[in-house]
């Protein structure tokens, strides 16, 4: 025994002890407590699996549609059931598969791609998942009670606001999906902060995997695209529930406002589902070309450019609504322009294949199939971007063909490529190559047989969403062919499902990094450990596994950061936004049932509201608030037992950070951007009515007057100022001043709320009477809700201070509350300006 051998043995023992501690800290609980897990590997897996179950359900609905349309004058489904089936098919595919699967996949793999232990807010991910599951089951289950929504997945009023013609299905759609949208936004916030703040040291922003860029762009788009729909949902439900006439032309409303709000969401949404799929290809293609992506900057250009341009396309869903040609022209221009970045991505992939040495495998097969299908979908997209052609194609089977080309080619095929590619990452085993080829060819051939003919079916005059058609119009054989193709496609998916589900217990684990990829997620052991990465490495390349020799061994030996969990806490690194310099050792909360309870109770609020069980709704709302406050109280802004700790390699990092250095501040900031987007949508509604109605507002004195709104504004601004003062006093060590200021601020805020609502109340504005009073009440109510939530936050801050969980040195809470109040003050200023002053100048 030499000394160095002793050292080596000692070193090995130390490593094993570290690994044991890490394993214990990150262990997934067993038994029924398994469902309290919040770790990204568990939640991501549930999330992905659930999204796929919804995909299969919606696929079955799609087959029902094809069965009904196989022959003319068919009566397998009644008109009523058919309308529910196609509405649910679209709704589930878009809201319960396409968007969530991206978030699910990202929660599953993004931390590993960034060599992070977890996302910064694991409990938020878990909350999002349970919301998604509850809302999804609620929406899907409705069809078994003949209560599914039946107005088409974009739910145009006034068909869907007519209580006679649309039953509870419309409420289920609105409330169920609003609930899921909230979960989506939560996931988006999480992913943005994850990409910006949880990268490994050294991974400067020019080195992040392309998937990270796409996640950043897409999550940003969600932040600005979903809130308009939530705003629209609020208008919609107020009309259905309380008869506020936002879409009723007889009382000054306009059905087109819904179309604007829906498509301001709806078109970016198409890119929200498409970009992540392209991101998967951007990970897969370099691996199989065994070369770095050629044109990294171009992909970034394409992702960011698409993200922006996609917000200028929404009216191309409204070309036939009779808007002036010049307006259509702008959107036509943007719709054409967005083809450029989309094309760039495709050419970057081809260029990468050219530079590298392509090896072919099932993921590549699906990637190429995706390219072939999506390119056609993109080209027909350019066709319908031209308004004159769209006037013919709109709402016909041409559009059905186009959108399935983009969504199946641009989302489903890449995702299946991703399944084959990442399956070993998740389970440690590979899927069958032979079954994969069968699945691909069945799906590819079936898809083309099914959907290519639809272009012609549509141009030969077949509108979409018809449950039957007469024979002799030249659609008969085209439809029959489409139905046959749909079943071939379904057979391919069945093969895939069988392959995924077949027991693989006897199959050996594959070697690590089976595809010889270059990115960090392939550091994972086979089978994977719950800790994600043994130690957080220092990165100097876009493809560290290719370019940093010996990286895997050093990571495994714990040579990098956070190789240990001495205090038995879950920890991950927080780094700076651009250059990924280590900034903080972030402690993330562990497993809990609180998030499940909070999601269940929040879900109960929405579900009870659907059935108008108001007492149960109110009780659930209070309980949900209690659960959320309990979760915040126990799981956030925890004061560490020491200010800092060594994280390895001689680096000492703080354990606590507040303000812009903390992830919580960024999450609040990003959330409030989304909140502002929703508010902006409501203000847009106000000015939209002003544009189209000469009597909106009815006169300079029609509104809530000037006195009440300005009184409200002064009170709210005073509450804001006091909050800021409280933050300052706290920093100066004057906790007692904070404890005085916050309750006073809450009082002022509540008084401001009362004054804000007193304006329209005193003016006798009847929201049911016409759209103007309804809009005034809406804006006042929105702001009032925000101020009341702000007051609750102030009281929460007071309680935290009294409990010594908010101290001069540990001030996360008050800084986040102050940040919230900046946005609330802005909301109040805009609301008062619009309500009190605009009628004077209009």
């Amino acid at each position: 025994m030499t000394a160095s051998a002793d050292d080596a043995a000692l070193d090995q023992a130390r490593q094993q002890a570290q690994a044991a501690r890490l394993r214990q800290v990150w262990a997934t609980p067993g038994g029924w407590r398994y469902w309290s897990a919040v770790n990204n590997s568990e939640v991501g897996l549930w999330y992905t699996a659930t999204a796929f179950v919804f995909l299969l359900f919606a696929g079955l609905l799609g087959l029902l549609i094809r069965v009904q349309l196989a022959v003319p004058d068919n009566d397998v489904l009644s008109a009523e059931l058919y309308n529910q089936v196609f509405t649910l098919h679209g709704t589930v595919m878009m809201f319960l598969f396409a968007v969530p699967v991206f978030e699910a996949f990202s929660i599953l793999i993004l931390p590993e791609m960034l060599a992070a232990r977890d996302l910064p807010f694991p409990r938020l991910s878990a909350f999002g998942y349970w919301c998604f599951l509850i809302g999804g089951l609620f929406v899907c289950g409705s069809i078994f009670f003949n209560a599914a929504p039946d107005g088409g997945w974009f739910m145009y009023p006034p068909l869907t606001t007519d209580l006679e013609q649309s039953g509870i299905g419309a409420d289920i759609w609105l409330l169920g999906l609003s609930f899921i949208e909230v979960a989506s936004i939560a996931a988006a916030v999480e992913l943005i902060v994850g990409v910006l703040k949880c990268r490994p040291p050294g991974m400067r922003i020019n080195l992040i995997p392309l998937y990270g860029w796409y996640v950043l762009v897409v999550a940003g788009m969600i932040l600005f695209a979903f809130p308009p729909l939530i705003a629209g949902d609020i208008l919609f439900e107020l009309e259905r529930l309380l008869d506020w006439p936002f879409f009723d032309p007889a009382r000054g409303g306009d059905p087109l406002l819904w179309q604007h709000l829906f498509w301001i969401f709806g078109h970016p949404e198409v890119y929200i589902v498409f970009l992540p799929a392209i991101a998967l290809l951007a990970m897969i293609i370099p691996t199989f070309a065994q070369t770095p992506i050629f044109g990294y900057s171009w992909i970034v250009l394409a992702a960011v450019g698409t993200g922006f341009l996609s917000f200028g396309l929404w009216v191309h869903h409204m070309y036939t609504t009779g808007l002036p040609a010049i307006s259509l022209g702008f959107f036509s221009a943007a719709s054409v322009a967005v083809a450029i970045p989309t094309g760039v991505q495709i050419f970057v992939f081809i260029a990468t294949l050219l530079v590298g040495r392509a090896t072919f495998s099932v993921p590549m097969l699906f990637a190429c199939g995706a390219l072939a299908i999506f390119t056609l979908g993109g080209l027909t997209g350019v066709m319908v971007a031209l308004a004159p052609f769209d006037w013919q194609a709109h709402d016909s089977y041409f559009i059905v063909a186009h959108l399935h080309h983009t969504l199946i080619g641009g989302v489903l095929f890449p995702i299946i490529a991703g399944i084959y590619y990442f399956y070993p990452f998740i389970t440690g085993r590979k899927l069958s190559d032979r079954l994969g080829r069968w699945a691909f060819w069945l799906m590819f051939v079936g898809f083309n047989i099914s959907f290519v003919p639809m272009h012609f079916t549509g141009l030969r005059g077949m509108p979409r969403r018809i449950f039957t058609y007469p024979s002799g119009l030249g659609w008969d054989w085209l439809n029959l062919v489409s139905t046959i193709g749909a079943f071939i496609l379904a057979a391919g998916i069945l093969v895939l499902v069988l392959d995924v589900l077949r027991p693989k217990g006897r199959q050996p684990y594959v070697q690590r990094n089976p595809w010889r990829a270059g990115t960090l997620e392939w550091l994972t052991e086979m089978p994977g450990e719950d800790w994600g990465v043994r130690s957080v490495p220092i990165i100097t390349s876009r493809y560290p596994l290719w370019d940093q020799p010996d990286l895997m061994r050093q990571v495994d030996e714990g040579r990098f950061y956070l190789a240990d969990a001495e205090e038995g806490r879950r920890e991950t690194l927080v780094t700076s936004v651009l250059d990924a310099e280590p900034m903080q050792c972030l402690r993330v909360p562990g497993n809990t049932f609180l998030t499940m309870a909070a999601a269940g109770l929040t879900g109960a609020v929405f579900i009870f509201a659907t059935f108008h069980w108001w007492l149960a709704t109110a009780v659930s709302a209070v309980l949900a608030l209690v659960a959320i406050v309990a979760w915040l109280w126990t799981g956030t802004a925890i004061i560490p037992e020491k200010p800092s700790k060594p994280v390895g390699r001689g680096l000492e990092l703080p354990l606590y950070a507040s303000g812009p250095d903390s992830v919580g501040w960024w999450a609040m900031f990003i959330t409030m951007l989304g909140d502002m987007a929703a508010f902006a949508s409501l203000v847009f509604g106000y000015f939209f009515y002003w544009t189209i109605r000469p009597d909106f507002p009815p006169g300079p004195d029609a509104g809530p007057g000037v006195a009440w709104p300005f009184l409200a504004l002064s009170l709210i601004l005073a509450a804001w100022a006091l909050t800021l003062a409280a933050r300052r006093w706290n920093r100066q060590g004057l906790s007692q001043n904070l404890q005085l200021a916050l309750p006073l601020a809450a009082l002022l805020a509540l008084a401001g709320t009362a004054a804000l609502l007193a304006g329209p109340w005193q003016a006798g504005l009847q929201p049911q009477a016409a759209v103007y009073p309804a809009t005034v009440w809406l804006l006042a109510g929105w702001t009032a809700c925000h101020v009341v939530i702000g007051a609750i936050m102030q009281l929460y801050g007071l309680a935290r201070s009294l409990a010594h969980r908010l101290t001069p040195a540990h001030d996360i809470d008050i800084r986040n509350i102050a940040l919230y109040w900046h946005f609330t003050a802005l909301t109040a200023v805009v609301t008062v300006a619009v309500l009190a002053l605009f009628p004077k100048v209009a």
């Binding site: 990294y296 002036p324 702008f330 221009a333």
Partner: protein, 128 residues
């Protein structure tokens, strides 16, 4: 203070989106003015769009000027292409060059997209 620092470190991210933001503002200004004009101005469907077309020309020139300025700055930041991509070294210089190139490319795209958005004003003369 910390907020300022955050903004400075994120500076590359903000300059990256200057030109697409200009496109978005330009788009909004064109669309909103045309929509309000056609809805509010007399003349109904046959209303002559001349004032709107003049407005679009003006905002287009302004938007293109800002985009070109942004592109020019990006060009310099990219070192005028002195070093070829892929800019994948873990250095401050390569990070800057990467941002320069990406910003430049986005400026180019925004430039094309802005011109596209202005094109309808060339072809369409009334509110029909």
């Amino acid at each position: 203070m910390a907020a300022e620092r955050a903004l400075q470190t994120a500076g590359g991210l903000w300059t990256l989106i200057v030109s697409p933001t200009v496109w978005a503002v330009h788009f909004t200004l064109c669309y909103a003015v045309a929509a309000v004009y056609c809805a509010k101005a007399g003349g109904g469907q046959a209303a002559d769009l001349l004032p709107v077309r003049a407005w679009i020309a003006a905002v287009t020139v302004a938007a293109l000027a800002i985009i070109l300025w942004s592109g020019h700055r990006a060009l310099r930041q990219w070192s005028a292409g002195a070093v070829d991509p892929p800019h994948d070294a873990a250095t401050l210089a390569d990070r800057r060059r990467f941002f320069g190139l990406a910003t430049l490319l986005l400026a180019g795209l925004s430039c094309v997209a802005t011109i596209y958005v202005a094109l309808p004003a060339l072809f369409i003369g009334d509110c029909r």
